[in-house]
């Protein structure tokens, strides 16, 4: 019995691993190759109740909590981080609706999000050139500008978008994908997480009713920070999943690859590489579960989430470099899963914007 996981959480992790093996392993390499939207896999996620994982039962969710979320994301990422990313980014937006939505907004959206009838996306980042601005008019709000790096763009029916609503003030809005004036850019060709679309969202005088405001007017900065903290946990879970898969794969390879009469697993340098990578995954996982448990208990979790992000961000790229070393020439060639894992991990450990620097969050908590 794992002291950090309840029996239910263990069973959930077990079911997610089985699901990943059965439903994702067979399609992961092709998905990475083609980058086409994995409709069947997403439908299967819905069938397992993953899309409403932490949403309230009253709205059709499974109410399984955030420790379960990180368990599931890790398990899925061992097979396909792209599919895990689809779930993760849907979850970020669903979290916002559940956390700050009015009863009417929750009734409208949560059941459909939980069932997977509507997929969600969080549009929080920007390139900087035309930041999204929202101006209030008698009819409602008018949004103008561009959001960048929106995961699930083009597939999501509901977008949670952050906009500047005044000097140094921000607000969140619920935007339907079909809103007039809303344009989804062409999906970007990304290095990794291929299959999880990412694109710009261009708001050309998009008019939204007052009821589209999510949470308090001008109170969006704090809400955004909280969503990004959850994103840190989600990305962390994916990083640990990818990293664990890479370590297992490299270890199995090291036992069979014989050079100069011995399996390379017998070489100390190889053992050190594998030991460090495995340790980082293990520690990252524990920190992740702890931060998720704080969230489950309604405790502040953003500093711990920042610590997870900082630790795993550095660890992520290093693990993959190290394990590719172990596999040597074979690791570099495309028919092995390692290159896909390497590219996916670059996606989960990306630092999105200067304002997100987890170091700043941690330091602020120490120096306040």
């Amino acid at each position: 019995m794992d002291f950090l996981l309840t029996e239910e959480q263990q069973l959930i992790g077990q079911a997610a691993r089985e699901f990943a093996r059965e439903a994702l392993d067979p399609v992961a390499p092709a998905l990475d190759h083609d980058g086409t939207w994995p409709a069947e896999a997403v439908a299967a996620l819905a069938g397992q109740d993953f899309l409403g994982l932490f949403l309230p039962a009253a709205h059709g969710g499974a109410e399984a909590g955030f420790v379960s979320l990180v368990e599931v994301l890790e398990a899925l990422s061992r097979s396909s981080a792209a599919v895990a990313a689809i779930l993760a980014h849907h979850a970020l937006a669903a979290y916002a609706v559940d956390r700050w939505g009015t009863e009417a907004q929750k009734r409208t959206w949560l059941p459909r999000l939980a069932k997977g009838e509507v997929l969600a996306a969080a549009a929080l980042h920007e390139h900087g050139a035309s930041p999204l601005m929202a101006v209030h008019h008698p009819e409602g709000w008018v949004l103008e500008g561009v959001k960048g790096f929106v995961r699930n763009a083009g597939q999501a029916g509901l977008i949670v978008a952050s906009a500047a609503t005044g000097e140094g003030r921000r607000s969140l809005f619920l935007v339907e994908a079909g809103a007039s004036g809303l344009e989804t850019g062409a999906p970007a060709e990304t290095m990794g997480l291929r299959g999880c679309p990412v694109a710009e969202l261009r708001f050309n005088s998009v008019v939204l009713p007052d009821a589209a405001l999510l949470g308090p007017a001008d109170g969006g900065a704090a809400l955004e920070a909280e969503i990004l903290a959850l994103a840190a946990l989600a990305n962390g879970a994916m990083t640990v999943g990818i990293g664990s898969a890479a370590v297992e794969h490299a270890a199995a390879y090291a036992k069979t690859r014989v050079q100069f009469g011995r399996p390379i697993a017998a070489l100390e340098a190889i053992q050190t590489l594998l030991a460090e990578a495995a340790t980082d995954c293990h520690l990252g996982r524990l920190a992740l579960r702890h931060a998720a448990r704080l969230l489950d208990e309604g405790q502040p979790f953003q500093v711990e989430a920042a610590m997870v992000q900082q630790f795993l961000g550095r660890m992520g790229a290093r693990i993959l470099q190290d394990t590719v070393q172990v596999e040597g020439g074979f690791g570099y060639s495309e028919f092995m899963p390692l290159p896909r894992l390497f590219r996916d991990m670059a996606g989960t450990t990306l630092r999105d914007a200067p304002a997100d620097l987890p170091e700043a969050v941690i330091a602020a908590s120490l120096l306040a």
């Binding site: 029996e7 239910e8 069973l11 079911a15 699901f19 397992q48 993953f50 379960s68």
Partner: protein, 259 residues
């Protein structure tokens, strides 16, 4: 509306068991427990029958103290309640003992229209418990079933028997053992996992079954277990030139008197 009982075993996952090279002993320290593979097929079959026709699925297991880890697992897979017998005796029990224990529990908590088991457990794969149970309960056994249907008070199965396939039928109550290929056990959804906590877990103390001592003494005893290791020459030819490899292999076969 059939009343179905599924017997299942909590076993060590054989994938996690390692053989110690020094003395070929088995290291199970990292082995997690799981519901035996074909028992999952039996559970799936039972749940499928009840989903189609109504009724109820009870799960029953006999094991050591670790059997408590099995309870929410089996409930999350669709059983309505689980009856469990935990006793240290289970560690050395053979199929003779286990069949008596399960039969006694079935008599106490039944009656059941149908008792389902996997064709064999993934650890020892003795392939005998379902038939023993049927003999003790004095019921017919439809063994090695690839398909299974309930029609009123009769059970009908397609039995796959190696060199033949047989359509057989028996009146209820009956026992059946299922093959792994019968179905694909569903993966529990989150709601099913969380719903397991609400379903009854009924502890059945071994003593409460009233079995006399002779029936609890195993008829077969395990003296020792060792890992199987292949000791082969491992002479592998992997030159880029296939013809060269073939020549060397042919020469090796000749040296072995094989060509």
């Amino acid at each position: 509306m059939p009343n179905i009982l599924v017997c299942f075993k909590w076993v060590l996952d054989e994938q996690d068991i390692k053989v110690r090279p020094a003395d070929l002993s088995l290291d199970s320290s990292r082995a997690k427990g799981k519901i035996s593979d074909f028992d999952r097929n039996a559970i799936e079959a039972a749940v499928g029958l009840v989903e189609a026709q109504g009724g109820r699925v009870d799960a029953l297991t006999f094991g050591g103290p670790s059997v408590k880890n099995a309870l929410k697992d089996v409930l999350s897979r669709g059983a309505d309640r689980v009856l469990w017998i935990a006793d240290p005796l289970a560690e050395t029990a053979d199929a003779f003992v286990t069949a008596h224990v399960l039969a006694a529990a079935i008599r106490q908590h039944g009656p059941y229209d149908l008792v389902l088991c996997g064709e064999g457990s993934s650890d020892a794969f003795n392939q005998q418990l379902p038939v023993r149970l049927a003999a003790l309960l004095d019921q017919p056994c439809l063994s090695f079933a690839q398909t299974l249907e309930l029609q009123g008070d009769r059970a009908r199965a397609t039995r796959k028997l190696g060199d033949s396939v047989e359509e057989a039928e028996a009146g209820l109550p009956a026992v059946a053992s299922v093959l792994g290929e019968m179905n694909k056990p569903r993966i529990p959804t989150l709601k099913q996992v969380l719903g397991a906590a609400k379903k009854p877990q009924i502890e059945v103390p071994l003593a409460a079954l009233g079995l006399e001592a002779g029936l609890l003494r195993p008829r077969s005893t395990r003296l020792g277990v060792r890992g199987f290791v292949m000791n082969r020459r491992n002479i592998i030819f992997k030159e880029p030139d296939a013809a060269a490899n073939v020549a060397r292999l042919a020469a090796s076969l000749a040296s072995e008197g094989l060509c």
